[in-house]
């Protein structure tokens, strides 16, 4: 058991010493992740974990990479991508130059999915995709663009359901048990570290995707992050969230219009 008081003190010291703020994350998930880190590394108590990471920066780095990594898939929720093609792409095509922010990109599967979609819609050449995450190890994997070959069956199905126009195998090269995404997809992608809980806006975008990240935040942090997206979108820019996420807790809720209610695609209107 992790007592609440002890947990909050731990997060406070992490914030004070290292500047990472998890105090507004949904507690149940963070506690689960901390606990599985403790189990895997045979750390008996939160107090011991605290002692270990406070005096050893390398240990802290290891800890932070382990507890902030999110899981992702190529073309997850295929109908979301289908809706992007139908409802968003034609409006994006009116811009001479398009900037997309994928916030919380983790190991990059969604980034490559978007690059494929933009290529098939003829927009990739004039698009820059900014892919950010809090987790450096995940970003490194995203840059390398490697995936396990065992995922390809699921990804190919998703790609087809998402309205893919070619053969999915056109986009990767298989080698042993891995696949490498087509290097030309990566030309217009910029990977960088960004912490949604603490960092500011860094550009203006026509489209922002942040899917299955807000579920890990409490209502107050969700609202702050939506405001950050609001400030980072151009007028009539688009925001895509995860299937179970909403603007319900966002102060800026009224500044967005629903483009696709089911697929959680919104447009900044005010």
């Amino acid at each position: 058991m992790i007592a609440n008081e002890e947990y909050r003190q731990f997060l406070e010291s992490v914030r004070f010493v290292y500047g990472y703020d998890f105090t507004e994350y949904a507690e149940a998930s963070v506690i689960r992740r901390i606990r599985s880190f403790m189990e895997a590394n045979q750390i008996p108590s939160l107090k011991d974990l605290g002692k270990m990471v406070m005096k050893d920066e390398t240990a802290f780095e290891h800890f932070i990479q382990e507890i902030t990594v999110n899981v992702t898939e190529m073309f997850r929720d295929p109908l979301f991508y289908k809706s992007l093609r139908k409802n968003v792409i034609s409006r994006l095509a009116t811009y001479p130059f398009i900037k997309v922010w994928i916030a919380g990109c983790s190991t990059g599967e969604e980034v490559y999915s978007m690059a494929i979609l933009f290529r098939e819609e003829g927009l990739l050449e004039r698009t820059v995709i900014y892919a950010t995450d809090i987790n450096q190890d995940a970003l490194q994997k995203a840059k390398e663009g490697i995936s396990a070959i065992t995922n390809m069956k699921n990804y190919t199905e998703n790609y087809l359901k998402a309205g893919g126009k070619n053969s999915f195998s056109d986009y990767y090269k298989a080698k042993y048990n891995s696949v490498l995404w087509d290097k030309s997809l990566r030309q217009n992608i910029v990977f960088s570290v960004h912490n949604l809980a603490m960092d500011k806006s860094f550009n203006e975008f026509q489209l922002i995707l942040c899917r299955n990240v807000l579920i890990y935040f409490n209502q107050s942090l969700q609202s702050k992050v939506i405001s950050l997206f609001y400030e980072s979108l151009c007028p009539f820019g688009f925001l895509g969230l995860g299937n179970k996420e909403s603007l319900l807790f966002a102060e800026k809720q009224k500044c967005f219009e629903e483009i696709d209610r089911k697929e959680k695609i919104f447009m900044k209107t005010k």
Binding site: A26, A28, S29, R32, R33, V71, N218
Partner: protein, 193 residues
Amino acid sequence: MQLRNAYDAIVIGASAGGLYAMIEILRDLPAGFPLPIIVVQHRSKDERALLEEVLQQKSKIRIKQADEKELIEPGTVYFAPPDYHLLIEGDGSFSLSFDAPVNFSRPSIDVLFETAAEVYKEGLLGIILTGANKDGARGIQKISQAGGTTIAQLPETADYPAMPRAAINTGYVQHILTPVEIGEFLLIVEKRK
């Protein structure tokens, strides 16, 4: 061992064959049921809300899919959404996660049961039903260790007995009942004072 009948919440885990057992258990529950019932039923990730619709047609109690940050209310049966883990927060609300599958499952019964055990402690009743894997066994142990009450479906009555059997084998299942008996028992449970 006497089965207590006062709780704060009920959690149920079901996998293969669960639909029929769930119908048996929920069918007679009244709309004014005094507790929340929170369920992980393993389901296809492509199925969006069919399970809730089918069960609602056969029950009087309100049935819905749990929403992110939703406050947990009595008189409602909540199902974990397809392809997300369902967790209970200390303030009595739900949160969802897309963390890796646990026991090859997302949603995972263990994830729900373990977080529910921490929040509800001795006020929790945990029920494990039919299934072909061992998800929920660890969760049953956590519920029992936190002072809660645990029930497994009698394996002989389960379409797939592996899951209740795995839970029973932990030594932390306190009562073994048929789905009909579980349904009858739920009719007499009360809110804990």
